[in-house]
């Protein structure tokens, strides 16, 4: 019996379970385990492949057909589609620059769009706008003021005071401010909302500017800090936060690419966090039957370890949300060049982990550890992944890490 099981394992490892002859032989052997002739026949059939695999094969097992999913992103060596399903949030893609993370992200988002999901993509490069070649139903927001929205307004069904707190938390975290300024902002925002049901960031700036404090007072310093950041936001985002604006509820129903490359790093952190937090709460408080796929070109903007280790501010809201939004139909696809600097929230909550070749040994070690790769040969192989070659690990369904290839994207001009 043990011998038969060993043969079966070898067949599965070699991916020969689809081979009719091999499987017929195996069935005969199972019926008559003492049939030496057939055992010898089967060994002759799979022997050379086992030998070749031992000499030149990859140290990862061939993945079974269980790796198939609705959103396909790669192929195994045997040509099986690899994909994840909508009810399997979230996905972390790690890889060095130029390895194909963005292409993979676009492959995923393009399929999601064609399957009637809504996508929001936060991108640092203009090349993601090529998704428009798949569907014209995508808006590209480069924060020039053409698309105006108001992140100060709470999502439908959420209490404005609660949203004010969330907004302030995100603002403080993004711009590295402290408690004094946070409370100062809260006070002003609460006042603002008591006077106007739809205030904008411009109104917030105006109200804070109108205060007059003694230059030596603490309040003057809080005012200065808040004004400094708000002026920066108004300067960089232009009229994006002005009137007339479309509601974020409307924007949430559209596919949008947010091109954030023109903003400062703090502003990038702010806008990505505030919009994702908004969408999370919107989906949490409003039942919907459509999925949102959020692509983030640089996951360190929202999930950086440093955000989770500021004892004065506690954990960022987004970290909590990642673990609580399973049922709110949001999938986050996060790409990172430096995964070892990512916080625990994305590692612990991503169903799919994908590793491209990484230049930094820390990153490789971190990812392989997170993917449960312990075999030394497999670990060594992770350091020398080829072009478009990826190691994939699902947290359920098929739990072994396996190798796959991202299909090559043709150059449009060629």
């Amino acid at each position: 019996m043990k011998e038969i099981l060993a043969l079966l394992n070898q067949i599965l490892e070699l991916g020969l379970e689809k081979d009719r002859r091999t499987m017929a032989l195996l069935r005969c052997i199972m019926r008559n385990p003492h049939d030496e002739a057939r055992i010898a026949m089967l060994n002759r059939r799979i022997g050379p492949k086992v030998l070749l695999n031992q000499m030149f094969g990859k140290p990862f097992k061939q993945a079974s057909e269980m790796v198939q999913g609705l959103i396909k992103f790669a192929l195994t060596e045997l040509g099986t589609n690899v994909g994840f399903n909508y009810d399997e949030p979230h996905c972390l893609i790690a890889g060095q620059t130029g390895c194909g993370k963005t292409v993979l992200l676009m492959i995923i988002l393009a399929q999601a769009m064609l399957q009637n999901s809504t996508i929001w993509l936060f991108s640092k490069a203009k090349d993601t706008r090529n998704l428009l070649r798949v569907s014209r139903e995508i808006m590209v927001n480069d924060f020039s003021g053409q698309i105006r929205f108001n992140p100060l307004l709470q999502p439908q069904g959420v209490d404005s005071r609660f949203w004010i707190n969330c907004f302030t938390d995100v603002f403080i975290q993004a711009f590295s401010l402290y408690d004094g300024t946070k409370n100062f902002m809260l006070e002003n925002l609460n006042y603002l909302f008591s006077r106007n049901s739809q205030p904008t960031i411009h109104d917030l700036l105006r109200i804070i500017k109108a205060h007059s404090y003694s230059p030596m007072s603490r309040f003057a310093r809080y005012q200065e800090s808040a004004l400094n950041r708000l002026n920066g936001i108004i300067g960089s985002f232009g009229d994006t936060f002005g009137y007339p604006f479309i509601t974020l509820e409307d924007l949430a129903r559209k596919n949008v690419i947010f091109e954030i490359q023109g903003l400062t790093s703090e502003q990038q952190v702010f806008i990505v966090n505030v919009l994702i937090t908004w969408l999370f709460y919107y989906k949490l408080y409003n039942s919907s039957n459509s999925y949102h796929i959020i692509g983030v070109d640089d996951a360190n903007l929202i999930f950086d370890k440093s955000f989770e280790y500021r004892p004065d501010q506690g954990k960022p809201i987004i970290s909590h949300l990642m673990s609580t939004v399973r049922k709110s139909m949001i999938n986050v696809i996060a790409c990172s060049q430096i995964p070892h600097q990512l916080g625990a929230s994305i590692h612990s909550n991503s169903f799919t982990k994908i590793m491209f070749s990484l230049a930094n040994a820390n990153d490789v070690d971190f990812m392989s550890k997170g993917m449960g790769i312990r075999d030394q040969e497999q670990l060594d192989y992770c350091h020398k992944l080829g072009k478009r070659e990826i190691v994939v690990k699902f947290s359920g369904r098929y739990q072994e890490p396996f190798l796959a290839y991202v299909p090559e994207v043709p150059n449009v001009q060629q």
């Binding site: 090529n130 428009l132 006077r195 109200i207 205060h211 009137y243 007339p244 409307d250 150059n411």
Partner: protein, 256 residues
Amino acid sequence: MFSNDIPDSIIKINNERILSSMNLIQHQKEESMTNNVDEVDKSGKDNHSDKKKVFLWDVYNRPYVSITERYKTITIDRKLLSAGKGTRLVNSLVQKDLLKVHEINLGGRGGSAKFLELTEKGYDAIGMKPKPGIGKGAGFEHGFWQQHLAERLKSLSGINEIKIEGLIMDKSVDILIGTEQGKFAIEIAMSSEHEKINVEKDIAAGCSRIFIGCKDKTILKEVTKIISGYPEEKKIKLTSCLVQKIFEEVKNCLQS
């Protein structure tokens, strides 16, 4: 990777097409959006200057500073305010019902000091809501003594905790002091009306000592009368005096 990105012009046209099918939210009429004294003036047909606005903001930010102290520390147009100009400014603001003046006897040789409080109209003029604890409930003078005493008590040794409106077993006391001898409560009595119930609750909550600071001699007399009716074991815990003397009483108690 794609070699040619879609140009901005196409993006703009495409965005425009999608935006045309969406609702735009227009600017709402604001309900006194700016924190401007002038906005109130429109109704009052009076035009306040920036100086007045600065002064009102200063009163908002530092409610328990005496008028004299305020003149010495406030800078308007990068200059300190002289007593004469300050008095004229305050008088005009009081006349316009933007400020209220409170005279509080601080005890000692200094006699009384004057303090300012924003009126409802004053808060409106700077576009803020009244701060909790100021001018509400027990009133400005009560709030002043709470702040004033809490600040002074900080200088005493043997105190490890001072809390305004601190809680002891769910009972709120005006000032709660944590000492090595236990929890001390300071109650500031602006009237003797509720003092009996208040003191009983404090004792029941487990305060080791209760100091009752009375606003004036009449109230002190009434409070002393209430205390005299208590049994001896409760009386030991209670001290009543004028609010101006509370600091000395606590100091003596800590030293004994």
